[in-house]
Symmetry: C2
């Protein structure tokens, strides 16, 4: 049997999301449970994939299936495409597996033509509506399908208004619009060389192709990369009988959530506009009414909608985001989906749904995206500073959290400023999909127009970025790059500003921010995650402050303490430099002796902060030249300090130059050439542990981690120094202490020969930053130059430094796990690359059989939740 590419809504259901896309699957599901859905059909995601495989053409088989589905839908609707009496009009909408709001194209009123428009006028007894629909369709089709600039159509409309001396579209009557349609068609013919297509099937096939094409438009590609959506998924296309919210005053359209998407409060939450088409609400151009007011306007419809909302939430056991249209007083459901929500809302809804008996704890934690927690871990305003601050404007609290930074008015400027290391607040009249990258780099987003469901609000919530939307009190001039407050003050680019996404307040000053706490619903959900997860979560911390912060966020150990950062401090760099430029072992040991007490204090601080938990200390890793000055003046100063001829010091520094420092003399290679460095570090690790035991009673089991190992003998050489020194220290102090020696697996050869390396290593910690660099053969510092081309040409879909490349790097991780366990079944396995805080990578680590992930303190709760997700996902398979 050949594959089926087109499904009537009545043939699908909610479980067919991968095939029908989210929208299509839910339209089918709503049809099945008897809700009022305008009927139609879904062209599958596989048809989209095939479209690309077939060199961007729709195969004859699929065309035939679509025609058959049209015929069936016409029959259901009792209308026919192009019928002079009762013409059939449809909407054509994209619908991928994952929601990609506003990323792809939608076409309404398809099927209308010179004949149908008259029929519509007659049947609705509303010629103005008929011609308005036609002119909207021509404009949308020309723009979306044929890429004719929208502004050319707008110019015709503006001219019509000017000719009539009116301001609003609504002031144009049927004849005016009829005239506009004539001009629109002339423009189309001029641009395309052919007449505007009158055949509805031709219109439809072109629209379907446009939707398929839009899957690959630049903003969709960027969105997919930011949201880890593979391009192979493709989008489905939903073709649905049109219902009209803009046929008169008994018509309307709206969107609503079954709970408050900002707070999670259990109340119907949404907005609608009377006499409008769907896009008018989400586009944020007219300010809509709250859903509750519909109770007064149309009580029966409201009651029906409330019931449907309850039915849908119960059915999906999740907060629903619904779109509806009212046509001639009759309610139609156009869409339902699990609603996007802020992190606090996600936590509250998860906790409430468990309380309501609708979800188990395991189901509930899956309703919270780990990455979303990020917003809760970001700064909130410091209470005292907030008290002292005075809001200068108030908008809608569209996405919670607090943000302070410098003001920029375009996505480009925001990206540039962020690149310079500035904290950025992006202020826009309203945002559009083109702004998405600029929004991503911003601490907070402010818009002057648009509601809670505007583009800015939806996207910011998805990103977990603070957003104040629809702040009509301020005037934003994107051209002049100014923002004028209601009191007349003008803020310019680069000025400091603060936003409170939870209250909607805007401050024309820098308001100090503080960290959030893991309490309340957040604490409850994290508790459930801890019960469920099997992976331990450690932190990467180089200072006692970081370690303390991480413990507050639930870290169970330090997976990576980088010792090199400790040597850059003003009071240490001199001794470090002395060590580096030493010519003999004796000179080097003398310099190291100065560093020893400092290093010992570093470790004591971290041990104390971790209160006896595991602490993994990585020995000196970077190439030594990183510690030396480059400026001639600085070199002169150092030469004086060292009592060393300037030329000799210059020669020493030049001697340390490397062609490819990342692949040079660093990591354990330093300890091989200068074993005395490893000896000093071992002494500091062990002495500190003994002292902390004596001072605080904590039983520290330090884990000494040798970096950049590629060969077991290399590890053994350094380990022998560590063991010898540790034994000496313990003998001197008369204390016996347990400690471990392990290695990072960050060189491909280490993964490949992990069975041998495990003979010496008591633990492996996957250093996936370097492992990614070596496995891909590009350095992170240099790859920026060409990775953009790789994204735009769809060679890579995500940044392998952000999200672990499971196909390549992941294979090496799995190989090393298997080989390591073969040699040493109880080997401790963890990851300390930045991937340790990336949810999809944490899930990979769980599946690969690691014991722990280690990530930056602020990612610890994210990793805890992702680790719990991993357990649930594993059970589901």
């Amino acid at each position: 049997m050949s594959k089926k590419y087109v499904y009537m809504f009545s043939e699908g259901n909610a479980s067919m999301r991968n095939l029908l896309g989210g929208k299509g699957a839910n339209l089918a599901e709503m049809t099945n449970i008897g809700l009022p859905v305008p009927q139609g059909f879904t062209i599958t995601t596989e048809a989209c994939t095939k479209y690309y495989e077939d060199g961007k053409t729709i195969s004859d088989d699929i065309v035939a299936e679509i025609y058959e589905a049209i015929a069936k839908t016409e029959k259901i609707a009792g209308k026919k495409f192009g019928d002079p009496e009762n013409p059939f009009l449809v909407s054509v909408r994209s619908g991928a597996r994952a929601s990609m709001p506003g990323m792809m194209d939608t076409i309404l009123n398809l099927g209308i033509n010179d004949v149908a428009v008259e029929a519509v006028a007659k049947r609705t007894n509303n010629p103005r509506f008929a011609y308005d629909s036609y002119r909207r369709f021509i404009q949308m089709f020309s723009d979306v399908v044929m890429c004719i600039e929208k502004s050319k159509f707008e110019a015709i409309l503006d001219a019509a208004k000017e000719a009539k001396g009116v301001q609003m579209d609504t002031e144009l009557d049927a004849d005016d619009l009829k005239n506009v349609v004539v001009k629109y068609k002339e423009l189309y013919k001029k641009e395309m060389g052919v007449d505007f297509p009158q055949d509805a099937k031709v219109q439809l096939m072109e629209a379907v192709k446009a939707v398929f094409r839009s899957w690959d438009n630049p903003r969709a590609i960027v969105y997919r990369r930011l949201n880890d959506i593979p391009s192979s998924w493709g989008t489905a296309v939903n073709v649905q009988s049109m219902v009209f919210g803009n046929m008169g005053d008994d018509c309307g359209t709206g969107v609503a959530f079954t709970r408050d998407p900002a707070t999670g409060e259990k109340r119907l939450f949404g907005e609608y506009l009377m006499n409008a088409q769907g896009e008018d609400v989400v586009a944020g151009i007219r300010t809509p009414q709250p859903i509750s007011s519909l109770e007064n306007t149309m009580p029966e419809v409201y009651k029906q909608f409330v019931n449907i909302a309850k039915t849908l939430e119960d059915h999906y056991a999740d907060m629903q985001d619904m779109e509806f249209t009212i046509e001639g007083g009759k309610l139609y459901m156009l869409q339902t989906r699990n609603g996007k929500r802020t992190a606090p809302a996600a936590l509250r809804i998860a906790v409430d749904l468990v309380k309501e008996g609708k979800l188990t704890k395991e189901q509930a934690i899956m309703k919270v995206e780990p990455g979303q927690l990020d917003s809760l871990l970001h700064p909130q305003f410091d209470a005292a500073s907030l008290k002292a601050a005075k809001p200068v404007a108030k908008g809608l609290p569209a996405s919670p959290g607090a943000a302070a930074g410098k003001l920029y008015f375009t996505a480009e400027d925001a990206i540039a400023a962020s690149g310079r290391g500035e904290k950025v607040i992006l202020a826009r009249q309203e945002t559009s999909p083109e702004d998405i990258e600029g929004m991503h780099v911003s601490e907070g987003i402010l818009t002057a127009r648009g509601g809670m469901t505007s583009h800015a609000a939806v996207v910011a919530r998805g990103m977990g970025t603070c957003c104040v939307a629809g702040c009509g009190e301020v005037v934003i001039d994107e051209e002049k790059k100014t923002m004028t407050l209601s009191d007349g003050r003008v803020l310019t680019e680069g000025q400091e500003i603060s936003l409170d996404g939870s209250t909607g307040n805007v401050y024309a000053e820098y308001v100090k921010t503080v960290e959030a706490q893991v309490t309340g619903d957040f604490g409850t959900v994290m508790g459930w995650a801890d019960e469920i997860r099997k992976l331990k979560v450690y932190t990467n911390a180089d200072t006692p402050k970081d370690a303390e912060q991480a413990v507050k966020f639930g870290a169970e150990g330090v997976g990576l303490c980088r010792t090199e950062h400790m040597f850059f401090a003003e009071d240490r760099i001199a001794a470090m430099r002395e060590m580096i430029v030493s010519k003999t072992v004796e000179q080097r040991e003398k310099a190291l002796a100065k560093l020893l007490p400092m290093q010992r204090e570093d470790f004591k601080g971290i041990y104390k902060a971790m209160e006896g938990k595991s602490v993994t200390i990585r020995f000196l890793d970077p190439p030594l030249h990183e510690f030396l000055p480059t400026d001639p003046e600085d070199i002169k100063a150092l030469a004086n300090e060292m009592v060393m001829p300037y030329e000799e010091l210059v020669a020493t520094i030049e001697g340390l130059h490397e062609f490819n420092p990342m692949m040079g003399h660093r990591g354990c290679r330093l300890a091989v050439t200068y074993p005395e460095i490893a000896a000093m570090q071992t002494r500091a690790v062990i002495e500190a542990a003994i002292e902390v035991k004596q001072e605080c009673g904590y039983d520290i089991v330090p884990e000494i981690m040798i970096p950049l190992v590629g060969e077991v003998k290399e590890l053994k050489y350094v380990k022998d120094i560590v063991v010898k020194t540790a034994e000496e220290v313990m003998k001197e102090k008369g204390v016996t202490l347990k400690y471990m020696v392990g290695t990072m697996i960050e060189i491909p050869r280490a993964a490949i020969t992990a069975d041998e390396i495990a003979q010496e290593a008591e633990f492996f910690s996957f250093g996936t930053n370097d492992l990614t660099q070596m496995t891909f053969g590009f350095s992170r510092d240099d790859a920026g130059k060409f990775l953009e081309d790789y994204y735009s040409k769809k060679i890579y879909e995500s940044d392998p430094f952000q999200r672990l490349d499971q196909k390549g790097v992941g294979q090496l991780v799995k190989m090393a796990v298997k080989l390591g366990k073969q040699t040493r079944p109880d080997i401790k396995l963890g990851i300390c690359g930045e991937h340790g805080g990336d949810p999809s990578s944490v899930i990979f680590c769980h599946n690969a059989g690691l014991n722990y992930v280690s990530c930056s303190p602020f990612r610890v709760p994210i990793a805890r939740l992702a680790a719990a997700h991993a357990v649930v996902l594993e059970k589901q398979q």
Copy 2:
């Protein structure tokens, strides 16, 4: 049963080489076939390994086994250690699996002490001999076992000679030597704080330990690295009853080969010294007599020796290198082994042994070391230049081939000059094992002293380096760094000099050299190798000249044609730079259009040289900044040429700077960002093939190789450009042409995802240079700084850039082969890294299932022979 660590000679045989070492196994074999061998026992290589495992101690079990073996040997000899009537003396010699001439320690006369010396004097009726033996033993034991400086003993001996007013050791009588022994023992006590050990068993155990230790002395480590001998093999220790060649005029000692080791001629070839101990011959201090003269001196002994030599050669079916001693007119065999020989000798012996019916062709090719052929492929003197040149001195033709270079007098100076890129001739009074690295970097070696079996001669032949030894006509002053000719002319450091290792001639001028031909025995053996081997041998060639040379050496195709070298020529670099600094696609295409005809001519030249054989062309690989000037003056000139502001050009060049260029914007990444480069190169490849077909009738099937691929989509992107362009060109020309598109596997991720990559790649060529860099995580340019430490600390035993790392990099190769074939069973597989010309790596490639290896033209015959070896070795397993 516990492991046996000590074997009597009568318990072993030749097959036990790994356990007993080469020397021990052959002493056992000679014992078995009834030859006159002084009896003794071998302490196994496993005992050496255990000695290191046990922290450099000999376990009690092994000590007990040794004592037992001593007792048995004493019984056979009818003597006893320390016996006042008939004392037992032994030699203690190292003996590894592979011959390591002069690398490790030997101790003679062990067992002698204050009592035994008197007994020896009495029994031999030769007190001078007895005391000479004792003083030699004290000196050797003190030096080798106790590391007391030899010169301190020599000073005592010199003082004794001076006191007596004589010049030669032999002029000292028994009483003088007795006195020397007293002073030697005093010195020993002063140095060591204890008396010289009188207990023979104590002497023996210390000597055994010294031999084990010598396995790890620095010169042995260097030798192992140069000869690919793993340190895990360990050395055996042979303890053998002493026989004395220095007891009088009916005594002697010598070494001989069953065929001429320089030419392979079938004649007994060797040297001996009457009244001497073995080390006197090989040390080259006294000039020995040719073996043939022994027929006159001791006709019976000579006849017996000739018979033994024939027996041994027939037994081993190979040319033997034997050591013998005559004591009181009786012949003893001390050693036999397959003799080292020059490459011409190896070829002639192999061919002759097949003619003599002693070996099959398969056996015969195994008698020729592939690496040795290198010497035949190096320059010989150009006949005309040689005719014009006048020899200034003549020495022994110790290792054939011709060499011309600059004169240096110490190993250090030779290494330094070689590091500067100079061709070096090393001239030494005589060489010693300390000189080995200096010899390795030299084109030729000249010594003033020593015979054909001197250290210099043996080592140079092993290395395939030209050597003139024992050139007594010249006076070499190593301190003053001068060489004085017989006519009084003084040559100084850095002067040009030429050597002919085949005639022994020395020229005080530069004599032009030419390439050798693969003819005669060489041609015969290569013919056999070609019959046997399965791997094809291609060459790396960037120019028609290289390609022609390679074809002469038997190359069957071009496995790597690097296109970037073509752009550095004076007439091209300008267009290349124009291309690089282009701001738009149009500018870039304009510059590329200038490069196209040049590139097309390059390819035509190579196609013609290869006469229709496979040609694999790698597309542009290096980072672009390599083509740009760095000097401000050059940049100014380029800016003028380009009509571009200087500052803009500087900014462009700076923009191309990379932190780690090896892992930056290069390889196929260039083609992804600038597809027009790949398009131009494709056009050149295809147009050239069409034109050569039309001009010469060769059917070229160009293989286009995309470098640095890590992901299949990256390859597909570039391949799509290649295919599109190729189709265009063929359409334009109205010609259809077969061509292939493949990739280098040089990024670890490419190996790991080779199944995916094979979907697009029609061939894989392993770029093991880069693959080694990425797999080890160090860059070849930078690793030099620390690899010496890695060798000396025994972390790496060979240079992974020379010899393929089979454990790490080799695993990736095997993985890629398996995955690649899984997807595309007929995928063509080759290697084009420098390892393609390394014999052990070629054998690996055969076993890994590759179709071809590609190497530099001069390595082609080596690879052909190694590929044949691989087949034979595979059958043997």
